[in-house]
């Protein structure tokens, strides 16, 4: 850093002091098809460097220990050969977990922060805990299971495309702007932690929603919904979908699907695929 930059303090906070992968070998323990990485003293880039290098060595199961807020986990893994890697994250995944994720599986044994599955393309993220804001933002494919609650703007601008239909299943409840701008995909909000008679508290659910569907277990007032969504009962096809994903949810988190499925679900659908078609003067 030259004097000028010292004076004005240009600091590359992501890359400054990042070590080369070869300097980090002591953090990786390989055992057959499995590798363990101790993230305790690793930087964001370092952990992804190691994951990538490990995956390149044909190791398909990577366990990350002592993760605490490390970002972008799984992002740099390519999926060119269609081979996917399973990553188990212990403790606490950082922001943008699995951003642009392409086909890989990530399990988080703990909570996750903002931006889980941001712009994810395919694969699966299972969070054994809660997720913070903008979970599954702009997600295009794959599945995300959150055992507990999600923060603000979950499933915002979720999309779908051809055979890619993203799925987000949330065991708990959500905060405001749930499903905002949603353009596709399936979101299931189970509200398992709501007490008897307790409503979901999120406001502005599905504002600007113009595609996809939200299945909601538990109650909401009309005033909690964006004006672009309507409530419909589930038809048989819906029930099958809900059943399928609730069962998957339950298999991830060891709970009983029967009880969940016995309760009443609501389907939230956009009332128009063109919510803003008429606001312009031509």
């Amino acid at each position: 850093m030259n004097e000028l930059n010292l004076k004005f303090g240009f600091r590359d906070n992501f890359l400054e002091g990042v070590r080369q992968p070869e300097e980090l070998e002591q953090f990786v323990k390989t055992c057959g098809q499995q590798a363990e990485i101790d993230a305790q003293n690793l930087r964001h880039k370092e952990i992804n460097d190691l994951i990538r290098d490990t995956a390149k060595r044909q190791i398909k199961h990577i366990i990350l220990r002592n993760v605490c807020g490390h970002r972008y986990i799984g992002t740099r893994l390519s999926n060119s050969e269609g081979e996917t890697v399973k990553i188990d994250v212990y403790n606490y995944a950082g922001n943008d977990l699995g951003v642009f994720l392409d086909g890989h599986h990530i399990n988080v044994y703990g909570n996750a922060q903002d931006g889980v599955g941001n712009t994810m393309n395919s694969g699966e993220i299972v969070v054994h805990g809660k997720a913070a804001d903008v979970a599954a933002m702009s997600m295009r494919g794959g599945k995300v299971f959150i055992r507990d609650n999600v923060g603000y703007r979950a499933a915002i601008h979720m999309k779908e495309y051809k055979d890619k239909v993203p799925v987000l299943v949330i065991g708990g409840t959500a905060q405001d702007f749930f499903g905002e701008y949603m353009a596709g995909g399936k979101v299931i909000l189970l509200g398992l932690n709501l007490k008897e008679g307790e409503m979901h508290r999120a406001n502005y659910i599905g504002t600007g929603m113009h595609g996809g569907v939200i299945y909601l277990r538990g109650n909401v007032k009309d005033s909690q919904l964006g004006k672009e969504v309507g409530i419909r009962p589930l038809d048989e096809e819906d029930k099958e979908i809900v059943e399928k994903y609730v069962k998957e949810y339950c298999s991830h988190f060891n709970c009983d699907p029967g009880e969940i499925l016995n309760s009443e679900f609501k389907k939230l659908l956009p009332v128009s695929s063109r919510p803003y078609g008429k606001i312009y003067a031509y």
Binding site: K7, F14, Y92, N111, A132
Partner: protein
């Protein structure tokens, strides 16, 4: 750079700072004092939220031996002795200075252009008060110093508390002031700054303080001009052009002067939408309608998360649509507030509770209370 800041009042506002950051606060609600390790490590964990252009700490329960005196942390920029002389003369003229010393620093730590930082424990000369409360007296003098004195800037002026801040990553500032070695407190708040403006000025770092109120802040208040002009009506002059300063003055105005509880103040800063008010019960509806009518200029618009603290309380609050993150956590008597949950877990792996309050809903940690759990019920 400071000279430009000493503008009295302007018809046109110069650019204000825009800064976005990582923040963290930890409080022991039983009042037990503890060292800086948690705060320092937590903010270090969120290093990428800052860019090394500012870091700072506020510590409460800092000077038990001088807790009846206002503790002034004063920075002399460019290590300007002349400024120090002027300032000390001013202090002696206006206060009784019981003790003063240079705040010890670690010369091994390489920080950018460190100023001279001195602390004074003072109390007003009784005769000079003239019906003005001690607090007001102190504030006005501190403001005068900040406004008119070249190369002088008061970091903090509360009792039994202090602010340490500067240019660098917060852990560097902590190292520089040796916070982990020298100090204990029952509240630590810390801020890692990512400004897009005013690099290289120690006064620009957070926390910002007025008396014993401190604010660390993440976000950009789009209503800055409106808020600031309202505060000017109440004789708060903003010299720093930061959102944080506005926030601190607003807290001071509403809580100290006007004695409103934080539960109400938070609803002034981050009121519910008219659309929500419409569906409220009559009493609530009246309350919020009135609050919004009267305190409209203090609506803090745009993204923010703040951690506000005083001797008794540590408060976390976000804007009403929660554009900035906050996570609260608790274990035993400890209450944590943080931009990222990871940071809390990093310093408290066996955390009992972690929750994210909804936008505009304050998390209030109070001495000898469990008030912080109130927000837990409204949160997820």
């Amino acid at each position: 750079m400071i000279d430009n800041r000493k503008i009295e009042s302007e018809r046109f506002l110069p650019d204000k700072d825009i800064e976005n950051c990582g923040l963290f606060g930890v409080m022991n609600t039983s009042g037990t004092r503890f060292g800086g390790e948690m705060a320092i490590n937590a903010i270090k964990n969120m290093k990428v939220r800052g860019n090394g252009l500012g870091g700072g700490f506020a510590i409460y329960g800092l000077y038990p031996q001088y807790k009846d005196y206002y503790a002034l942390h004063v920075m002399y920029e460019n290590k300007n002795d002349e400024a120090k002389k002027n300032a000390e003369q001013f202090l002696h003229e206006n206060f009784y200075v019981v003790y003063d010393e240079e705040i010890p620093t670690n010369p091994e730590v390489d920080v950018f252009c460190p100023p001279l930082v001195w602390r004074y424990f003072i109390t007003p000369h009784k005769k000079e008060i003239n019906g003005v409360s001690e607090d007001e007296y102190v504030i006005s003098r501190v403001m005068d110093m900040n406004k008119y004195m070249q190369d002088v800037y008061v970091f903090s002026s509360g009792k039994d508390m202090g602010v340490f801040k500067g240019v660098g990553f917060p852990e560097e500032i902590a190292d520089y002031f040796m916070l982990d070695k020298l100090y204990e407190g029952h509240i630590w708040t810390v801020h890692s700054r990512f400004p897009t403006n005013t690099p290289g000025w120690w006064g620009g770092a957070h926390p910002f303080s007025i008396l014993d109120w401190t604010v660390v802040h993440n976000g950009e208040i789009s209503s800055y001009g409106t808020n600031r002009r309202f505060l000017e009506l109440h004789n708060f002059y903003c010299t720093l052009y930061t959102d944080t300063e506005v926030m601190a003055y607003a807290v001071d105005l509403l809580m100290r002067r006007q004695k409103l509880p934080i539960e109400v103040v938070s609803k002034i800063f981050a009121p519910p939408m008219w659309n929500s008010i419409k569906y409220m019960k009559e009493r609530e509806k009246q309350l919020y309608t009135t609050l919004r009518m009267v305190y409209a200029p203090l609506l803090m618009n745009g993204p923010f998360t703040v951690v506000i603290a005083n001797q008794e309380e540590m408060i976390g609050l976000t804007d009403r649509i929660r554009l900035r993150p906050i996570t609260a956590g608790a274990k035993d008597d400890f209450v944590f507030l943080s931009s990222e949950e990871g940071a809390i877990r990093y310093v408290c792996p066996d955390l009992e509770l972690a929750w994210t309050p909804p936008g505009g809903e304050p998390v209030v940690a109070r001495l000898n209370s469990k008030d912080h759990l109130k927000s837990l019920n409204k949160s997820v």
